[in-house]
Subunit: 434 residues, 2 copies
Amino acid sequence: MPDKVVKVGLIGLGTVGGGVAQLLLEKQEVLSQRLGAPLLLAKAVDLDLARGRALGLPEGVCTADVNAVLDDPAIDIVVELIGGLEPARAFVLRALTAGKQVATANKALLAKHGVEIFAAAREHGVGVGFEASVAGGIPLIRSLRGGLAANRITRVLGILNGTCNYILSRMTSEGAEFGEVLRAAQDLGYAEADPTMDIAGHDTAHKLAIVAALVTGSQPELEAIPVEGITGVTPLDIRFAREFGYRIKLLAHLRNDNGAVEARVHPALVPQDHVLASVEGSFNAIHITGDWVDEVLLYGRGAGRRPTASAVVGDVVDLARDILAGCPGRVPGLGRAVADGGRLELAPINQAICQYYFRVMALDQPGVLAAVARALGEHNISIEAVTQKGRQSAGPVPVVMITHEARESDVAAALAKINALPVVAEPTVVIRRI
Amino acid sequence: MPDKVVKVGLIGLGTVGGGVAQLLLEKQEVLSQRLGAPLLLAKAVDLDLARGRALGLPEGVCTADVNAVLDDPAIDIVVELIGGLEPARAFVLRALTAGKQVATANKALLAKHGVEIFAAAREHGVGVGFEASVAGGIPLIRSLRGGLAANRITRVLGILNGTCNYILSRMTSEGAEFGEVLRAAQDLGYAEADPTMDIAGHDTAHKLAIVAALVTGSQPELEAIPVEGITGVTPLDIRFAREFGYRIKLLAHLRNDNGAVEARVHPALVPQDHVLASVEGSFNAIHITGDWVDEVLLYGRGAGRRPTASAVVGDVVDLARDILAGCPGRVPGLGRAVADGGRLELAPINQAICQYYFRVMALDQPGVLAAVARALGEHNISIEAVTQKGRQSAGPVPVVMITHEARESDVAAALAKINALPVVAEPTVVIRRI
């Protein structure tokens, strides 16, 4: 196709969409050299036309009418960057049905409707790029679809929310309270005015649902992923964890062993010498274990206008290569030519096995440790390390321990017993260890 | 192509080749599901036929005759894993000329003859996969060709030799001498009997030449890359570096600013809080800075049978996808549709600017620091930090300093003056800081 011009229609000129428009304009020449054909931002749709003017988009590119992209047969690639479920879902499905390639950063859409979207892409012989939907600029999706394709991925540990990692990093370095750091992060623009999606762990769960689908070939119900956020993390637990040699991070976990798949999101103790422990501030990272590749870590900016635009345009380049080489839909959404395996059943979390951190707040009386240890022992939980500090002021004192590996259901049962002990003054804090 | 079987011809059944054969056999079903067509190890060539038997390869697959792969029109993908320049070069060129796709882990071949090989692939409309040639199992090449394609890569810092990183890590943790750790590494099989290629930095330079080509689109002469190995690194410098807050790592450096490209290999001071500082043991990592993506780190196993085989088979999967989608040669070797830009001229190292670590061994006399500082000042080099320890025994004492940014040519001139000072008892040690 020597005279082919690859035409991009962009829907949404918000933070990321504006970045994509700017990047496509700024690098038009370099990208065209990569492709051997002009790559043109043909249409940019936003209800607020002032956004396009502010970006200095050429005359005739901006429109408030999404049909100018979806109904124009000359548009080859649709970039969806409006976010949310509807009308994003309808737009993406219309584009795929019209035989257009699609790039999107929409994690909520793919976590919820990935099965439908990938099936539509397969049916119409086109590709979907979604590198930007997980971990921003980090080349994760293509690594799972391509470079690591020979592996069974047995485990994924991800720091996938920059806001949470920023808050936990500052709580760790400054010994500050959660609420205080959150307010500072909001003032700096590092946290949303309504930070619930981030700090309650739901944003991380969306991304984990997408990663789980790529790893296993079938997609879990988003609601089936157990999620715990960081609002309950205290400077006291961060300090005790450090004494034991750990950092506390909000992690997405995936385990894929012996046919059972576990997926969950919660704060976790990460050993200080693990590479994930050194991921600080708003950075993201994904630690992947494969049966042949062993360990891989991918690290970078998980959000922000420029890194996310970098990932979206990386997808656009790949989709344009497919068009120019005459092979749209070359790689299926989840990287498998066989049809996707329907819904992924997750193993029940109460059967999960890991080590645990316990902080029991107990009256400073003889026999407390023995009583706690007995409750644990009755449920087959043994202790790896323990620390009990003398009284510094009136009130209960912390008894902190790390258990050996134990089953979640046993931990829940032991916890109920411990909290019912007369010497225990507050609900016990429990945090899993990776 | 519903009935297509993708046939692989493997040349070389050594450590990595044996791993690739094993992986292709072990995962035949899974890989075929990924591709939607059978992926078959059709031929495996090795002069030592016992190797194939030891791997349990099916009857008729093993042969000592390379022509059984290169002359068989049914072979779609040739995997070259014999290493070295010849006959690997001849085999790869014959395969490409015959219209076969090629995967290789051969860094020496690509560092030296990449221009010729990529041109041949372009001419014959086929693809070359070389993910395994740099950093083993880490998905680096495809990230540079694809995911980060929208970026101008301004800087790359790589820990690309596991043997060197293992030795430096143990020297750091144990305070041991280089020679002692090298011998231990050889006993454990972590270092070759002849470790020169690794410890003198040449292996790292080969990989840097390939990375430089991917970043810029044109390939440097291997001999034009300044290389310094780790044999001169001492426990004393490791200790002083740590006092100043640094680790010493053997790094591949690439800078790509304002049209000038710097590439070099040498030990360097890495700030303790930089992610590269926490890359320990035999792991590899590449830290990439792009104008849009900001920082990305890719980390994992840079060598070894299984991680390297994982990378090779990841390439085989990609090349097979191209065959099945009818688009062989979809992505050019260096990721650019325009013809490669010939030889890359490197900026002269004496114009490079960075911070420096100096360890001056001087007689314990008044005025030493002043004399050294004067020599530096005369060449526009100012000091950021300095430490001078009192005499612990007879003989010269170390005066250690970190400079502000300075030009390499100024440093060389100042160094000559410092070493000529009557109070300076030994040649001064200089290490660059990233």
